[in-house]
Every structure is written in structure tokens, then in C-alpha cells.
């Protein structure tokens, strides 16, 4: 627990993961960095920012997501040069696999959208899939899409680079300091109480990821996002044989190979009925993921799992994040609900969040991204169908 240096700040960001840190980064370019505070109850990289598989893709159904992702790819390509920390962003592509005709239609539709954004996505017949991943078992594959500029990033250096840069600019970041309460007069945020003391502030950003629901409860605003436990594993490091991230549409199984050579992958398990709390790895996941890896790359059967771990996704009902000011509580901004895709969208999404916090206009369609979209129940909403993996 640490106490903040000041008793009042212009903006307090709750959550010291990539979303919070990137938001602080963009804010600090337009305001006094000394008046920004980032608080986090854990340690840097302790949440999803240090637990994700590092996938960065531009293959999405919704146009705005494609644009945000594309901007992120450019940002991450330059991250090492600009921040001095090397995230080893390797653009080996993303390969989406369809196993049914229905999935082929989904991929074809996505392909059209991505291509219309000017990205050189390719639709592959099963035989051409082998040109991309020779060791894949394509016998039941019906079709695939492939975009070579998608890639995989090492998450930790992004967090370290951001922290180093924020420190240099004079932005205060406090870890191991929990937020206890958010005070408002019912319409407008006034202050927050932390373990390290009370801080008055007119603006709070909820960038707490898997804990965004708890922060919403503290603020007394409707809870739309909720955390789900996701598991992931890494094999022993193998000589490179796999260039892209491979994703199956049916189960959201994904796997790629890191710069160390480990095959890192996961799939979505339903833990909603589990009584366990906290982070854990389940036996069921190890079994299911082994079956999937063996089914997709049979030669992996003799390879070994080195370690498995877990983290929280912050899910939203439509697979799209919540970005912007809360419709009921003034000064309370959302930057959450990324559903497991916060890392890949962070640089571009948080740039807009910073604009909104500063009261500027953004190029985002509020109907798509604003937290207010959930206040009108009857209305048809855009849904991101490819929020998987």
C-alpha cells in the first residue's frame, strides 16, 4: 500500500494494466501529467495484461473494430522504437479455421468486411492452408481466412515500457493500493477512497479489466460487464514450425508459437457453475486443450505441456468494449468490457478514451461503443460475432 503524493487529481484511472496505462499515456500528452493518478490493487502484469496469449488481429466482423485493431498493429510495430522496451511483435499472421459450411459463411462475410477496409486478407481452401501451416491436420477443415499482418506480441515489455515512460513524464502509478469507495453526489464523481487515503477528483476511469464490475458496484452504476475465467497453456519450447496464430471458430481454440518456441494456446471453457474462486487451472482444460492440439497438429502428441495458467476476461453482452462516460454518473468513464481482446485493442481504443475524458470528439460511433447503448433495451445493437479465442 502506498499513499498518493497529492490530495486531488484531475483524473484518477483505476487499473494499472495496459488499458489504464495506455489511457494515462495518451492523457499525459494533453494535460499536466502530475495531475493524473493510476491506482491498482495488485502488481504490474498481475492481471490480464500479464496473462494473455498476446494475439493481435485485424480480422473482425465490425468495421470499427477492424479499424481500431489496424491502428494497434501499427502502434505495436513501432512500440520498441518509441518506448525502448521490445515486445517482439512478430507478424506471422492469423489463420481462422472453419469446420462447417455455416462457419465458412461467417468467414466469407468477415473476409469481405476486412478486405473492404483495404487489408489483404485471403480466403484459403483446405489444401492451401497447408502452405501456411504444413503440420496442420486439414482433413476436416472446410475453409480458412489468413491475414499475414496479424501477429503475436509478448505482453510484459509493453507494460514495462509504458510504466517507464509514464514515470519519466511524471505520471503517478500506485500498485498494491486498493480502491475502497467512489464518492459522488449522485450525478457527478467527487472523490475516491483508497487504502492510501482519500483523493478528490472530478474524473474516474474504470480500467479495472476483470474487476470492472466491482468498480461499477462501488460507483453505483449498472453492472454490464462481468469477469470470466479463461485458461491457457504453454508447451516446452520447440524449434519454430508455426508462423500464424491458429483459431477455430467452433470452440475459440487458439494457439501460436512464441519467440521462445513455446506453443501457447487456450480455449473457452464454461466455468460458470464452478464454486471455486480466484485464479486456478482445471484438469478439464488440460484434457480438452490436449485433445484440440492433438486433433489440429497430430505431431504435437509427443510434445509436452510445460505450464498452464489462467486469467480473467472482462466480458460484455455484445462482444464489444464499453468506452466513454457513463450515461448516469458524470465524470465516470468506462474503458472495459474488452472480452479478452483488451491487449490487442489497447493503443487505439484508449486514445479515444483519453479524448473523451478530455471532452474532445472522437471518430467512434456512440451506438457501437458507448456504455449508453445498454440503457435502451429494445434497440437492435451491433454484435461482434468474432469475439472469441
Amino acid at each position: 500500500m502506498t499513499s498518493p503524493q497529492r490530495s486531488s487529481y484531475e483524473v484518477v484511472i483505476i487499473g494499472g494494466g495496459v488499458i489504464g496505462l495506455f489511457t494515462a499515456h495518451f492523457l499525459s500528452q494533453h494535460m499536466d501529467p502530475g495531475k493524473i493518478l493510476v491506482v491498482d490493487r495488485g502488481f504490474a502484469t498481475g492481471g490480464a495484461s500479464g496473462r494473455n496469449g498476446g494475439g493481435v488481429r485485424q480480422q473482425w466482423e465490425t468495421r470499427a473494430t477492424i479499424r481500431l485493431a489496424r491502428e494497434s498493429v501499427e502502434f505495436y510495430r513501432r512500440f520498441g522504437r518509441d518506448f525502448g522496451y521490445n515486445p517482439w511483435f512478430r507478424q506471422g499472421g492469423y489463420l481462422f479455421l472453419a469446420f462447417t459450411e455455416e462457419e465458412v459463411i461467417t468467414l466469407r462475410r468477415m473476409e469481405t468486411g476486412v478486405r473492404s477496409e483495404g487489408l489483404p486478407i485471403r480466403y484459403l481452401e483446405p489444401s492451401s492452408v497447408l502452405d501456411v501451416v504444413p503440420d496442420l491436420d486439414v482433413r476436416s477443415v472446410r475453409g480458412a481466412t489468413y491475414l499475414a499482418s496479424d501477429g503475436v506480441i509478448l505482453p510484459f515489455p509493453v507494460v514495462w515500457g509504458l510504466l517507464a515512460s509514464l514515470k519519466e513524464r511524471g505520471v503517478e502509478v500506485l500498485y498494491r493500493t486498493a480502491v475502497r469507495a467512489i464518492d459522488s453526489d449522485g450525478h457527478q464523481v467527487r472523490a475516491i477512497s483508497t487504502e492510501g487515503g482519500r483523493i478528490s477528483t472530478p474524473k474516474v476511469v474504470n480500467a479495472a479489466g476483470g474487476w470492472s464490475r466491482e468498480i461499477n458496484l462501488m460507483a453505483g452504476v449498472p453492472t454490464i460487464t462481468h469477469p470470466t475465467l479463461h485458461e491457457i497453456l504453454a508447451t516446452e519450447p520447440l524449434t519454430p514450425f508455426l508462423d500464424p496464430m491458429v483459431v477455430t471458430l467452433s470452440r475459440g481454440t487458439y494457439f501460436s508459437q512464441t519467440m521462445r518456441g513455446e506453443v501457447v494456446g487456450g480455449l473457452t471453457m464454461d466455468h460458470s457453475r464452478s464454486t471455486r474462486t480466484g485464479l486456478y487451472s482445471s484438469r478439464e482444460f488440460l484434457v480438452e486443450m490436449s485433445k484440440e492440439l492433438n486433433r489440429l497438429v497430430p505431431r504435437l502428441a509427443e510434445a509436452r505441456i510445460l505450464r498452464a495458467w489462467s486469467g480473467y476476461y472482462d466480458d460484455s453482452p455484445d462482444g464489444l468494449p464499453l468506452l466513454g462516460e457513463d450515461p448516469k454518473l458524470g465524470g465516470f468513464f468506462h474503458a472495459n468490457g474488452f472480452g479478452g481482446h483488451g491487449f490487442m485493442l489497447a493503443p487505439s481504443a484508449t486514445r479515444r478514451v483519453a479524448q473523451m475524458v478530455l471532452g474532445q470528439k472522437t471518430d467512434l460511433d456512440p451506438a457501437w461503443i458507448s456504455p449508453a447503448r445498454f440503457s435502451k433495451p429494445g434497440e437492435a445493437r451491433t454484435v461482434e460475432g468474432l469475439s472469441l479465442g
Partner: protein, 560 residues
């Protein structure tokens, strides 16, 4: 110091050589090696010194721990990469390949990396500029990644994992585990009991977790068949201890072994593999090592005063003894040939020529499964390690999970046995009153008090503090699996990062390698404490991730 209770014999020393020779194909050429021993032992005796190369600096790697948990002795065996050669017996016709290095593992031109980056390379902050060179850096570094090629072929058919339900699962068949098993079998023969002991090469419990239904879930692997998915109502963890590693310059050279590693790898002193062995430390294995290797031992050195009986034995055998010393460095190219000692108070240095160095200075509890089961752990200064909190029934903070023997901090045979019996009785009597027919209830707290070194001074922290004073600028490999240097750990502190083990792990990669921190984490805690001035108990820990030993994907993948 640690483990300085009574001296125990090793559970499973390497078998004496049966003399039969077998023919294998080694790196494409026929080679005749000894059968009936581990492949690591057989290859070593046939002259193989470098089994593998490290990831970053291409430093030579050879057998070290003898129990399948380091990154030293892995080879490609019959098309399967990274098989720990210390865990398998060779069979006639085996195809063995050492995969690292060009043109060969022994003479690797890329080992020049070690020389170019003699102060260490910074993969976190380097290779960033200019932007135009980024693709070249990426493909170059990627070329060096991985420790072995994808397996040659997929197995024809995979048998599905077998589900097994038992009442009690005992993990480890040493003194404590056996005592618990015997008592349960005698008192209640109807108990469905499973004793899994990895040292016999099978029944290795790699996963343990509480389930939703009050049963514990575990995965038990063995080299011969698909995994067992075991459900158990009660768990007794009796996984024992292992000998620690120690960072110094050259500590990762082939020819440096842990004490239990040497005994598992080379039991037969009549084989002329070592002419001049040095032993560092006086823990439980030292006496038996002295007796086994006698005149081939050129030095017994220790960070602190040796137990009188150990010192006497060395003197009787005419072995030079040095006490209160630290290892500053080891020299050698592909094999250790000299070691430099520095006296911890006088600072005097002394060099010894040798061809083998055995680390026997302290043993560590094998606690991975306890961390995973969610048991509350606490740091003990004396032993400089994390142990489970247990009550007088030897039950951990997780109801139904018991910890006995060495892993719970019991040193002597008698205490280990008693801890096993206490756990067994607690299980047999359910959750009712603790009536101990064997020992009076008052002895419970006394037993707990006899666990290793609870609080107080931390001799191993003092050792690392002394060592840091003689540390030069040349890199010291702290984590041999991932080539993380001690200097990188120093930078965590000097750059002002949070000095917790969790943060250090994600900044440097320490503990993320094949041993999952078994050989680097205990020293990383001490070094971070020494560098930051915080007590070791404040540095925290990271949990070993499941599986606690690497698990074949095919062991789980069979069936629908």
C-alpha cells in the same frame, strides 16, 4: 545447516552397472554404450559431455539434477524431442540426437554469442532500433528459439486417459509416505489407497487441485501409458526434498551436479569418469558421497561450519576441508576444470583444479503440488525456503490435504515416520477427536517444533550477501533454463522496479523455464532480498504452474 538433521540414505541411487553393452545410433553414427543404466549415465560414460545448449548464449548443458527437472540432459530420442535422458534406460537400436548447435552440439559456432554478450544481452530493451532492422532481429532471434524440433510423427493410436477413484492418494513413497501407507493398510485394509512415487519412473503426480464436489483432482503420468485421472477424498503430500542449485560464474557448466543428481547419475566410483571431485556443503548426502567416492574427492568445502562427524570423516579420508567459503566462479569450456573459492570473512581466494563439482549445501522441499492445491505456505529463514503451514495432524490449510516428511520440513527418519503416521491416523479417524494410539497427543506440538529452522537468522541470505560482494561484471547465470543472469536481477532493483519475485519473474524470465523455478527461485528470493535490503519473506513467491512436471499432450488426448 538446512537438512542438517540425521543423515538419510538416498531413496533411489543409480543402479550399479550390469556390464551389458548395447548398440545405439548417436547423432547418426553407431555407438556402443552400457545398458541397464540411465541414458544420461550411459552417454556420459561413453564420453558425451555436452548434451544440449542454452537458449540465449548457447552455453553447454549437461546432466545436473538426475531427476528430470533441470534443462541439462535432454536429447531427441527416437524422434521425440527433449526427452530427459536421466529418466530413461537406453534400448538397442535407439536413435539419440543432440539437437542444439551447429555444426555439432559439442562444437557450436553460435557459442560465440556467449563471448560477444559476455556481460549479458538485454532482450527486453535491446534489438529495437532502427525500425528498419526489426524484421531481421525477429527472424534472427527466432532462428535460435526452441530446444528441439517437432516430434517426427504422431503416434498411431492414443489410449484414452483412465479415470480412477480412490479414498487416499499418497504422493511420494519415501519414509513418510510409506509409513502413512502401511498404517492405513494395516488399520483399514478396505481403504482404496494409491501410492504414487515418481522416483521409480512411473506414477508421477503432475497436477493436484480441489474439485467442486469436495474430491481432489489429480493427473498421474507415467512413461508407459496414457494418464490416470485420479479423484481422491484425501491427499497426503510426501514429495520430499531435492538438493538446491547455486549461482556463481560458471555454475551452469557441465560437470557441476547436485548431490542427489550425482548419486542418481553416477553411482559407481569404479568408473573413471571423475578423478578429482569437489563437494560443496555438508547436507544429508555429503557423508554417503564421501564414503562412495573416497580418494577421488579432492576437496570438501562448505559455506559454514560442517557437522563434526562430516568433518571427521573427511579428515580420516585425507580430504582437504575448507569451511566458511563461497564459490566465486568455475572455469572450463565444455566441462568444469577449476573452481575459485573465496573465504567469506577474510576474502582470501583459492583455486582448485577438479573435474566434477557437487552441490550439497542445502536441500529444498518439493512443494509445487502444495502451492497448486492452494495450501498456505510460509517462508522459513533457516532453511531459506517455503514450507506448508500444518497442524499437529500434519493437515495443511486446505482440509483433506496433508503434508508429511521432508516437504513439510521434517528432517529425521523418526520425525518423518511420525508425521506420516499422524496424517494416516487423522484420516482413519475422520474429523473426530485426535486420539493417537501410537504417541501421546502432547508430542504433536513437539513434533512441529522439530521442523527445520523456523525463524531467526537466515544463513543462506548471509551467504548471498557475501557472494554479491565478489560478483564481477561478467555474467552469472542465475536461471540455467532461460539464461537469466544475476545482473538482470540487479537491474530490477537498481532501475527502481518493485522488488517482488512476481515482478522480477515477468521482467527477467527467471522461473519461466523447464525447471519452473526449482533451481533459481530460492536463490532469486535471497538475492532480491540482499539487493533491496528487504527481508526474504517480503519478496514473495510465484507458484509453480501446473503440471509440476512436463506432461505429454498424448497422455491426455486419447479417446473422444
Amino acid at each position: 545447516m538446512s537438512g542438517s538433521g540425521e543423515l538419510r540414505p538416498l531413496k533411489n541411487p543409480a543402479p550399479p552397472m550390469k556390464g551389458g553393452m548395447i548398440d545405439i545410433v548417436f547423432n547418426g553414427r553407431p555407438r556402443r554404450i552400457i545398458g541397464g543404466v540411465s541414458l544420461a549415465q550411459a552417454l556420459s560414460q561413453a564420453g558425451t559431455r555436452v548434451f544440449a545448449r542454452s537458449l540465449k548464449y548457447r552455453r553447454p548443458r549437461g546432466p545436473f539434477c538426475g531427476q528430470g527437472q533441470c534443462a541439462g540432459c535432454h536429447v531427441r530420442l527416437n524422434g521425440v524431442p527433449m526427452v530427459r535422458s536421466c529418466l530413461v534406460e537406453p534400448r538397442p537400436g535407439d536413435r539419440v540426437v543432440t539437437e542444439a548447435g551447429w555444426p555439432s552440439t559439442r562444437y557450436d559456432l553460435f557459442a560465440v554469442m556467449d563471448w560477444i554478450f559476455s556481460g549479458g544481452m538485454d532482450t527486453m530493451r535491446g534489438f529495437n532500433r532502427p525500425l528498419a532492422l526489426r524484421p531481421a532481429y525477429l527472424s534472427l532471434v527466432r532462428k535460435f528459439s526452441g530446444l528441439g524440433h517437432l516430434p517426427d510423427a504422431a503416434p498411431a493410436a492414443l489410449p484414452p486417459p483412465t479415470a480412477v477413484a480412490v479414498d487416499v492418494l499418497i504422493i511420494g513413497g519415501g519414509t513418510a509416505g510409506t509409513a502413512a501407507a502401511q498404517l492405513i493398510r494395516r488399520q483399514r485394509p478396505s481403504t482404496r489407497l494409491m501410492v504414487a512415487d515418481r522416483s521409480r519412473g512411473e506414477d508421477n503426480v503432475v497436477f493436484l487441485s480441489p474439485g467442486d464436489d469436495g474430491q481432489f483432482r489429480s493427473i498421474v503420468s507415467s512413461p508407459r501409458r496414457s494418464a490416470l485421472l485420479v479423484s481422491a477424498s484425501k491427499i497426503i503430500v510426501a514429495t520430499g526434498t531435492y538438493d538446491a542449485g547455486l549461482p556463481f560464474r560458471g555454475s551452469d557448466l557441465p560437470g557441476v551436479f547436485t548431490g542427489d543428481g550425482l548419486v542418481r547419475l553416477h553411482s559407481d566410483p569404479s568408473v573413471p569418469l571423475f578423478q578429482r571431485l569437489a563437494i560443496f556443503g555438508g547436507n544429508a548426502h555429503t557423508l554417503s558421497l564421501l564414503d562412495a567416492w573416497k580418494e577421488r574427492i579432492c576437496l570438501l568445502a562448505s559455506p559454514w561450519e560442517l557437522a563434526p562427524e562430516v568433518r571427521r570423516r573427511a579428515q580420516t579420508l585425507g580430504i582437504p576441508v575448507r569451511e566458511g567459503v563461497a564459490i566465486a566462479s568455475a572455469e572450463g569450456r565444455n566441462w568444469i576444470r577449476a573452481v575459485a573459492l573465496v573465504h567469506r570473512t577474510t576474502g582470501q581466494t583459492e583455486s582448485f583444479r577438479l573435474d566434477g563439482l557437487v552441490l550439497s549445501h542445502r536441500d529444498l522441499p518439493q512443494v509445487g503440488l502444495l502451492f497448486q492445491a492452494g495450501a498456505r505456505m510460509h517462508w522459513r529463514n533457516g532453511a531459506a525456503a517455503y514450507f506448508p503451514e500444518i497442524n499437529e495432524r500434519c493437515e495443511t490449510s486446505v482440509p483433506g490435504v496433508f503434508a508429511i516428511g521432508g516437504v513439510a520440513g521434517f528432517c529425521t527418519e523418526a520425525d518423518s515416520r511420525e508425521s506420516g503416521e499422524r496424517a494416516a491416523l487423522a484420516i482413519l479417524e475422520g474429523d473426530g477427536t485426535l486420539g493417537l494410539p501410537i504417541r501421546d497427543p502432547q508430542s504433536g506440538p513437539a513434533l512441529l517444533d522439530r521442523r527445520v529452522h523456523r525463524e531467526g537468522p537466515c544463513p543462506m541470505l548471509d551467504y548471498q550477501t557475501d557472494f554479491l560482494r565478489v560478483l564481477g561484471s561478467k555474467k552469472v547465470i542465475l536461471c540455467p533454463c532461460e539464461d537469466v543472469t544475476l545482473q538482470e536481477l540487479e537491474r530490477v532493483v537498481s532501475d527502481g522496479w518493485e522488488t517482488s519475485l512476481e515482478v522480477a519473474k515477468r521482467l527477467t524470465g527467471v522461473g519461466m523455464g523447464l525447471c519452473q523455478g526449482r533451481y533459481c527461485m530460492p536463490d532469486a528470493v535471497l538475492l532480491l532480498a540482499a539487493l533491496s535490503g528487504r527481508p526474504p519473506s517480503d519478496i514473495g513467491f510465484f507458484t509453480q504452474r501446473p503440471p509440476v512436471w512436463p506432461l505429454r499432450i498424448g497422455d491426455l488426448a486419447g479417446g473422444k
